[in-house]
Every structure is written in C-alpha cells, then in structure tokens.
Subunit: 384 residues, 2 copies
C-alpha cells in the first residue's frame, strides 16, 4: 500500500497509530453491547423525490461507527455528477492574485499533508420530510488552502474567494435570464485563509470517491456541507461580493426575528454549522434498551434525552473517539420501558451553555425555509 | 447661524474657508465663459416610468456647479419615503456587540464631526433609457462610524454590519414567500470600519433633506448609492452573511466573463463605484463651442473626448474644486464645428491606467443587467 507507506514516511508512528485506530473504530468506538438487537424507528422517511440530488442518506438505525464508511456516505449534487479524468485535470488559482497558478493532483499531493476528522451535515438535513440522513463523519486528508493562496498572492483588492466546481447546470433567475453556470460558493478572504481549510483528495484513507468530489474538494471544518465545494476546478479571488444561486437565492435562511417586540424578517446565507443532535437508534438486550445518538455542529458539552414528555435526562458521551469537528456519540440506558409507543428526543448543549432549540422555539418555529434546521429531533418507537 | 458658529468653534478658520469656498463654488468653479448659451442635447430621456422610485434626476444641461444643490439632488426610494420625527427617533446599534447602544440625533451631533465631498451615483444610472441623472455631488457631514462600532464592541463572531432603513415594503421571493422588510444593506465589518464612512446628518450645510435620508444616512465614500443607506434606524452586527433583496437578488450584476476562451457567467453584488465620465453640456459663444463634463468613480487621471468617429482628444481637467471622492469637471473647446448632427463621447482614465470601457467592450456588452453601467456615454447634438 504505497499510500500507507507515504503516510508513515511523513508522519511516523503517530500516523500508524491513527490508522490502526481508524481501522478498528467500527468495532470498539461505538456504544454497543454484546448480543444487542436494533429496534427500528416507527417513523420512516417517505420516498426521496430527488434521488439524483440526494444520494445514499445515512440510515440512522445502521449507524455503528464513528467514522462513516465511504460507501455509506451521503452525497449531494446540484447539477450533474462530473466524472473527472485525473490525468488532464488541473486546479486553477487566479483572479485578484499576483501569481496565477495551475496545480495538478500530483502537485497538490506533493504539498504538506493535513488531516481533519469532520462531520459534514447538509444544511437542509431534517428540514424536509424525506431527508434526515444528510450527514456523515469522515477523516479527510489534503493540503492546507492558506499557503496556496499566500503563494498566489491575494491582492489588496481581493475580498472574496470563489470555489468553482466542475458540476454545471442551467440557472434561471427571477428576471427570466437563463445561463449555464458551474456550482460555486464564496467565502471572505479571511474565512478562506482559515488554517483548518484543506484542499482534500482523500476520504477515510481512499481517494475521494467520485460522488464526494473526486479529484479534489474543499473541506472547511465547521461549515455546513454546501460550503465544502466538490469537484473543484478553479479558485477565483474577486474584488466584489459573489452572489450566485448558492449564495444569494438558494441556501438562504429566512427567519422572523423578534427585535424589541417588533418582527424583523431576516435573510442570511447558510454558513457555519449549528449545534445539533439526534437520536440514532435504540438497541435491545432482553428488556434493557439503550438509546444511542450523535451530537455535532458546535463544541458539545453534554447531551440530554427526553422520553415522551418526561424530564431531560443526561446522556453519556462516548470518549473513545473524538475530534474537534467530529460528532460525539452519546448513549442513555433505558431499562424496562413500558410497552407501547414512545417518543425519543435529544438536545445538545454546547460549551458556552447554548441549548439546541426545540422545534417550538421561535428560532426554529419562525424560520420559513428548511435550511439550518437544527431543532431537536424526535423519533417514534414501539416497545413490546 | 448657530450651525456656522458651531463649525467655527470646532474647526476654526479652516472650516470658515471651506464654507466660503462652498458658497462661492457655483460662481467660480465651473468651466464657464461669459455670455455662453447652452446647446441642448438632441437625445432626451423618455418619461420616467417610476417617478415614485426615482426623483429629481440631474439635468445635465443645467449642471453649472461642482456641488449639486440639495433641491437639485436625485433621490431613490425602494419602498416608501418615511417622514421621521427627530424628537422620537433613535439609532440603535446592536446584534453581535458587547454594548448595544441607542443614540439620539443630539448624541450623534455631539460626537466628532467629519465632512466628505462625495459624488454619489446610483448603480443603475445610464443603465436604463429613462435614467441618466442618478448622480450628484454633495458635501456630507456627520460623525465617523468606526468609533461608534468600536465603542459598541463588535464581537469576534460578528462578520457583517447591516444598515437598516426606516423605509419598508413587501418582499416577494421566488419561492413565493411574502413578508414585510425594511430596506437594508450590509458590509463586512472591515468595510464598515473604514474611517471614511460617516453617519451623515448634513448635506451641503443643511440638515439632510427628507428625500435624502433625514435624519441620518450612511455615507460610504467610494461606494455606489445603494450602499449609502438612508433613513437609518438600526445598525445590526451579524455572525452570518446577510442576503436580502438588495444584497442577493437585486443590485446583482450578471456578466459573461471570458476565462481562457470559456465563458463564465458571474453574478456579483453592486459595491464600490466604477470609473466613469459623461459629457454634461455643450455651450456656445458665437461659433466657439465648448464641451463640459464630469468624471468620477475612481481616482481620475485624465479624460478624453471623441467627436463623431474622430480621434480621442485630451480634455482639460478643472482643478478649481477637487476632492478625493468627488467628480472632476473637465472641458474641451470645440471651435467652429461643422453644421449638422454630431455625437460627443467621453472616457476617463484612472491613475492606474484603466480606461472607462466602450459600450462595445465585453465588460459592458456582456453584462446582462443594467447595474454598474460605466460604459462610455455618447450624447447627440445638432450644430447650426
């Protein structure tokens, strides 16, 4: 495995230990008990009406690993799903830069390697009835973006960095103008320069799968999925604020905010992820049940679980595997639940004391778009 | 005049000299000749179909002063034109700040005074057949914005500053959601912190007229008109990118850009002004004609004028009155032009050597929206 050899060469025994942990995580890292069986949720998703857009949703009942395997990882494509020939592909860096660049995949792989374990959630996840599996956690590897931007030399007039994908479709604006456009998202120069951002070519130790952006995607830890542009072809520094479908019209949250008793309707672009948790599955060993779930989107301090209309009960966070931008697994034992139908709800609390909002919280209830639906998730289950 | 006394108190004799210059500018600062008469342009604007939106366009033939008098200054209102009671009005500063503030007009006037002479152009000006007078130059006075933001204490999570006006209307989005919203525009925190930005309460020595934002507007030198929000009521620091009608859907320029032979359709938000010039009027003394015009939007180095399909001829910049963000007046003598119909075109060249584009330049010709129409302006005239 030349890839492993290369990693050993670069990172030595720490990398080997990390790889070992990765390959064993499916066995040891999940709050599981011998002989347990899964109790399926009663609530099932209606059929996905847009299978070409949303592929391979996470099946929460099957969640049994901290890292989501590549073949179980969700994928979103707004236009086509380009199949890119690595031998002719190049990444261009241009626009308001002193020294435009064009990098091959070999050029990018020859640069310093950086890994991050990051749970990516689609900002539409749980905002639509057929969509609750737009989330997954992977170990992403690539090279940091900032040194490349510094090498290209962003001009003082450059205020934004636009990430262009190879995926392309027809755009029709409200003014009826139609044109073809590649997927693109922008960030401010300061946001793009975040040392955590990587130009990612590897997902869980394998080349980036075609559905997840082969040969290269942006991985921007802490941002919703849409910002992590796939199938990158060009990084374009601009002197004006970029406003395409995915910045100014789509992926725009509309919310009623209360301002001293007055309602203010506010529209904002989907950006950094929000605090969230969800029950994943319930398992049973005899009459002893266990609720397992995940929490993510902000530095999670603790998770609480509510059964039916009962009190909030503290869940136990599993510390076997953790990373700054990865979801945390939690569990709550539920001994001898009464037979019948029950609801299970979770809420995460971050390290600043912010609580994941209830669905009835104005923050969620007065949101008029499905984006950023970080309200508490309630699942239904039949016992006995 | 208590106002003058106050200025003298604060700024001393420099201010007095400036005021003196202001009050005499209409007489001395314009490239005029004794006994001249105005030759009207043949091309006249069709009737303004939106008189409630666009009021009081500049009549170029009547332009005879460097500073545009308040009663001749254009005004744009996207919604209503609010009439605000100064005695109850307050400016709120809140959102992602340590110390929210509410300032009365007296509070604002008691803060350090700053003036700027700035030519504001509507970014739609000359982009629509009925609209070529959305421009004017005024001496704006107010207090710098940055120290107020510093006093309020922008939190690290704050990335944008939203300027909310008191003007309000119904918004209907492409997704058919309808709601009421006040006019608002946003800037990045860094852009808002520009020491040149002022919270402006005075226009050419008088209180801000109701149509130009009484009691307070933002004056952001170097930005197109839309950024200079009028009738300010609230300054709201946010942790997400703001995307309302005026940021993400309207005032968005759509342009075909050539990228190595491939056409890339790019949408950007109207922001900083662009290099531009226009012929203002032609005057006649006997058989000696003179073309007078203005140039603005970037640091202007020189202006050239073309008559019919002739060569570009250097115009003379009038240095009587100049300021960094104000238009420059220029003139070109045109002795004994042949009788008949002629065209007059001007182009400005900035200090970096950029030339105001021709209407046939791809920069303009491949622009599909009327915003940022900084192409060369051609006027038609009949001699003899």
């Amino acid at each position: 495995m030349p890839h492993l050899q290369r990693r050993e060469l670069i990172q030595g025994s720490v990398a080997v230990a990390a790889i070992a942990a990765l390959h064993t995580s499916r066995v040891y890292a999940f709050p599981a008990r011998p002989g347990e069986k899964i109790v399926e949720w009663l609530d099932k998703l209606p059929p996905n009406p847009v299978p070409e857009v949303i592929k391979n949703q996470l099946v929460w009942e099957r969640l049994d690993s901290w890292v989501t395997p590549n073949d179980k990882f969700f994928s979103i494509a707004h236009f086509n799903r380009p199949v890119i020939d690595e031998s002719t592909w190049k990444l261009e860096i241009d626009g308001m830069v002193k020294k435009p660049m064009a990098l091959t995949l070999a050029d990018i792989k020859a640069r310093p390697r950086q890994e991050v374990t990051f749970t990516i959630e689609c900002s539409g996840n749980t905002g639509l009835p057929f969509f609750n599996g737009g989330i997954g956690n992977a170990r992403w590897a690539g090279t940091p973006l900032a040194p490349i931007l510094k090498e290209a030399g962003v001009l003082d007039s450059g205020i934004e960095v636009v990430f262009w994908g190879a995926d392309e479709g027809e755009i029709k604006r409200a003014d009826e103008v139609k044109f073809k456009q590649n997927f693109a998202r922008s960030m401010s120069v300061a946001e793009a320069m975040d040392p955590k951002n990587i130009l990612c070519y590897e997902m869980n130790g394998a080349p980036l799968p075609p559905d997840n952006g082969f040969p290269l995607r942006l991985v921007a830890p802490g941002w919703y999925g849409v910002a992590n542009a796939k199938w990158l072809k060009r990084i374009d520094v601009r002197d004006q604020r970029f406003e395409n479908r995915f910045m100014g019209r789509d992926y725009v949250t509309l919310r009623e905010e209360d301002h001293k008793g007055e309602t203010v309707w506010v529209e904002t672009s989907v950006g950094r992820a929000r605090l969230k948790s969800a029950p994943a599955r319930v398992t049973q060993v005899g009459s002893n049940y266990r609720i397992v779930g995940a929490a993510w989107g902000a530095p999670v301090d603790r998770v609480e679980v509510k059964i039916d209309d009962g009190p909030w009960m503290p869940a136990t966070i599993d510390h076997t595997e953790e990373a700054e931008f990865a979801w945390k697994m939690w569990s709550l034992d539920w001994p001898k639940p009464p037979a019948g139908e029950h609801t299970v709800t979770s809420r995460a609390i971050d390290t600043s004391g912010n609580i994941q909002p209830a669905m009835s919280d104005p923050w969620i209830a007065k949101k008029h778009t499905y984006w950023e639906s970080n309200g508490q998730v309630t699942r239904r289950i039949q016992i006995g």
